[in-house]
């Protein structure tokens, strides 16, 4: 395990002091009467959160907690054409020697700490359930991973980075879990490094390119003739709502991330509002505490590369032209469907694109299931990879028991 260094978050005092000064000088906008959420994040929420952040919120206590709960490390990984990238990651091994190595890849506006609730469950030794060794990196430019300043860092580069990370940790074969960007990046991993290294993938993202008459005429007709289920209908409504009202951030970040980056790097309340809007609209009535929200926001605020660096993935991958036609893989895939996930393609599309060996439908949960519904997600992973599961024994010599 060369170049691995144990890592503890230790935000410098002057960063905290700067934040305090900025919060004290916050200039709030006014608000349209009875706006609620229609115009964006409500003023009352933002004022309350800002007051808390400025006052009783104790970053040092949360920093200690993160350091205690999550065994973290950093390591240099070479990526072809980009030199060395210093990656920050959580790595917790199960006491079960034959546990299944699993890499958990977060997205935006997520972070490595999303893994905190599933970590003890996945690594636990429980009779009747498989156990996992868990690796949860921060994407470059997130958390305490180095940002990438050379343009053009795309799906295949992330795949190389994370594949090398797993191999360097002794996991030459492993499985992946990802949603949001984690879905996209684990797909690249599977396409480029599976089935040799990536043996199976699990995701909570439920998108796939359309079946068209041109690419699959028979499946297309079958799709046309099969009525949508109630779940699919509700999901279409949700997707349309998100598309109509919630894609401004995407359009901006995928075209001019630097322009919005100035505001988000400079204004804590600006960053808070930008993210909090998604923490609420993308979850299924998750009862966020103020401190939970502030900690999520603070991880970005105090991150090694700053909040603006986290936006560039949108620009790079959207401009690669591949975002809506990801590479395909024959690696077995499991999907967990949560009702408040953002986009949901018809079942037929998802099955046409991937080798779906496991599928599970939930009555509650949204875009961050590891955080909102940890038991449900872990249960799905255990069923997918357990002794009688459809992906049992995919990793040679590591069946989880």
């Amino acid at each position: 395990m060369a170049n691995e260094k144990p890592f503890r978050i230790a935000v410098p005092d002057d960063a905290l002091a700067l934040l305090q000064r900025k919060l004290a000088d916050t200039r709030f906008p006014d608000e349209v009467e009875d706006a609620n959420w229609a115009y964006g994040t409500p003023l009352a929420d933002i004022k309350r959160l800002t007051e808390r952040w400025r006052g009783d919120y104790d970053w040092r206590a949360h920093e200690r907690r993160l350091n205690e709960q999550l065994p973290m490390f950093t390591r240099d990984i070479e990526v072809d054409g980009f030199g060395t990238v210093n990656v920050h990651y959580v790595h917790k091994r199960s006491s079960v020697a034959g546990a299944i190595p699993l890499i958990y890849v977060h997205g935006w506006p997520g972070n490595f700490a999303e893994v905190s609730k599933i970590l003890p469950l996945l690594t636990a030794e429980e009779p009747g359930h498989p156990s996992f060794h868990v690796v949860a990196p921060s994407l470059p430019g997130y958390g305490w991973s180095e940002g990438i300043l050379k343009p053009g860092f795309q799906g295949k580069n992330y795949a190389e980075l994370f594949n090398k990370l797993m191999i360097s940790l002794g996991y030459s074969e492993y499985v992946t879990q990802g949603g949001d960007w984690g879905f996209v990046l684990t797909r690249y991993m599977a396409a480029r490094h599976g089935p040799k290294h990536v043996k199976a993938s699990h995701t909570n993202a439920t998108v796939a390119p359309p079946i068209t008459f041109r690419n699959s005429p028979l499946q297309y007709f079958k799709y046309l003739l099969t009525p949508y289920t109630e779940i699919e209908r509700k999901a279409i409504e949700r997707e349309n709502y998100v598309k109509m009202t919630g894609m401004g951030y995407f359009a901006q970040q995928s075209t001019r991330p630097q322009t919005i980056g100035y505001a988000l790097a400079d204004s804590p309340v600006g960053w808070l509002a930008w993210i909090y809007e998604k923490l609420v609209s993308w979850t299924d009535e998750y009862p966020w505490t103020d401190d939970e929200v502030i900690t999520w926001i603070s991880i970005y605020w105090f991150s090694r590369a700053g909040p603006a660096a986290s936006l560039r993935i949108y620009y790079e991958i959207a401009n690669s032209g591949e975002l809506f036609s990801l590479p395909r893989t024959s690696v077995p895939v499991g999907i967990s469907c949560f009702p408040k996930e953002l986009f949901r393609s018809p079942r037929a599309f998802v099955h046409a694109e991937s080798n779906i060996v496991f599928e599970s439908e939930h009555a509650a949960g949204g875009h961050f299931p590891a955080y909102e519904k940890p038991e449900a997600l872990v249960d799905d992973l255990r069923r997918m990879f357990g002794r009688d599961g459809p992906a049992a024994g995919v990793v040679s010599g590591r069946i989880g028991y």
Binding site: P29, P42, Q258, W274
Partner: protein
């Protein structure tokens, strides 16, 4: 006749300037990818330079004095359903008694300042060209006009506001000039209050919805078989590019104005970058000085309602589906086409909507025609409304001479 009119002088409180300075001193900049040019957004070097100037060297009080040399006033105008709105406006009469009253309406990220260079040209007296009395209001929520905090303030409300303003100044009949948001707002005014009050309209934003077969079958067919001119080909490419990479700001404004508002309200550098990107992208190599840029942005920063108020118009007009509309007008209509105007619709779309009595195409100039090419724009207005022009004598008793 001129009741509740008050002369107006901008006088930003000292503590507002002090707060700006404190914030500028504590600016936290993002990093930037290597050699990005303008691809990712406003470049870091530009923003750093402008921020430094704004913090140290830029003299707001001197700029304020210069702006106060413009003849400015405020007045309360009743708008049905919205009560009384206090509107700030520039009002300069020509020495020529029979000058043509002209309403000039700015858009985003412009302001009343845009009329500054036109004012001496339009009000000047000469036997060779007509003169104008010029009224240039600040839109509600911009500069020192009161903001609207009740939902649903749409095109027709702006029209009522402007018409009442003009009539209250003694101009029962007048003509309009508008670009950016000003295009829609002046044409809506013409639609509702013409030909009784609005006698003609001119725009430098030649935008109209596409022709459809259903609405105009003959024109549609003709349009289909007529090849684009070289300019129209270029315009189509420019419009496509704008929608693909330059319209993120518009989608965010139109869906979540409050969310982006927190950033614009709290972060001077954030506001600077958000606007500066467009000041450069939308002009035709206009040689902005740093102080010009900073004055344009300071008007937003120090505005009565704050920067957030200015973006709500996008939301409201999107909700009423008016953004790209060309309202039905029956009055003479003129267009000035500048090569770097952002969206330039095919001529066939425009001529389907209104009787184009005046048209002029220029070799240079962009979105802020009155600022970039004041002589050209003034010359167009003189040609349109002059003695032998196509809209000569539209205003009773006001030939302009």
């Amino acid at each position: 006749m001129i009741s509740d009119e008050e002369p107006f002088q901008i006088s930003v409180p000292d503590d507002a300037i002090a707060l700006l300075k404190r914030k500028l001193e504590d600016t936290r900049f993002p990093d930037e990818v290597e050699d990005p040019g303008w691809d990712y957004g406003a470049p870091l070097a530009d923003i750093k330079r402008l921020t430094e100037r704004w913090r140290n060297g830029y003299d707001w009080r001197a700029q304020e004095r210069e702006l106060n040399a413009l003849p400015m006033f405020t007045r309360n105008i009743e708008v049905e359903g919205y009560g009384s709105l206090n509107v700030q406006y520039v009002h300069k009469r020509s020495t020529v008694e029979g000058a043509i009253p002209l309403l000039f309406v700015h858009g985003w990220p412009g302001s009343f300042i845009e009329v500054t260079k036109l004012l001496p040209l339009l009000t000047a007296s000469s036997p060779d060209h007509p003169s104008f009395h010029v009224v240039a209001p600040s839109l509600p929520g911009y500069a020192w006009s009161e903001g609207v905090l009740k939902k649903g303030f749409q095109g027709k409300h702006y029209a009522e506001l402007f018409n009442k303003l003009m009539v209250s100044l003694g101009y029962t009949e007048y003509v309009t000039q508008g670009g950016d948001r000003g295009r829609l707002l002046t044409l809506t005014t013409a639609s509702i209050y013409g030909p009784k009050h609005v006698k003609a309209s001119h725009t430098n934003a030649p935008v109209a919805e596409p022709l459809t077969f259903r609405r105009n079958p003959f024109r549609f067919i003709k349009y289909m078989v007529t090849p684009y001119s070289a300019q129209e080909v270029q315009a189509a490419a420019d419009a496509e590019r704008f929608l693909r990479v330059g319209a993120g700001y518009s989608l965010e404004h139109s869906t979540k104005p409050q969310t982006i508002g927190y950033s614009l309200e709290d972060s001077p550098v954030g506001l600077l970058a958000w606007i500066y990107e467009k000041l450069v992208a939308w002009t035709d190599a206009y040689p902005w000085t740093d102080d010009e840029v900073l004055t344009w942005i300071s008007i937003y920063w120090f505005s009565r309602a704050g920067p957030t108020a200015s973006v709500r118009i996008y939301y409201e007009l999107a909700k009423s589906n008016e953004s790209l509309r060309f309202p039905e007008i029956s009055v003479p209509f003129g267009i000035s086409i500048f090569p770097k105007e952002v969206v330039r619709s095919p001529r066939a779309f425009l001529s389907a909507k209104a009787s184009i009595v005046f048209e002029s195409e220029h070799e240079a100039g962009g979105h802020f025609a009155a600022w970039e090419q004041p002589e050209a724009l003034a010359s167009d207005l003189r040609a349109m409304f002059g003695k032998y022009g196509p809209a000569a004598n539209v205003v009773s008793g006001c030939s302009g001479y």
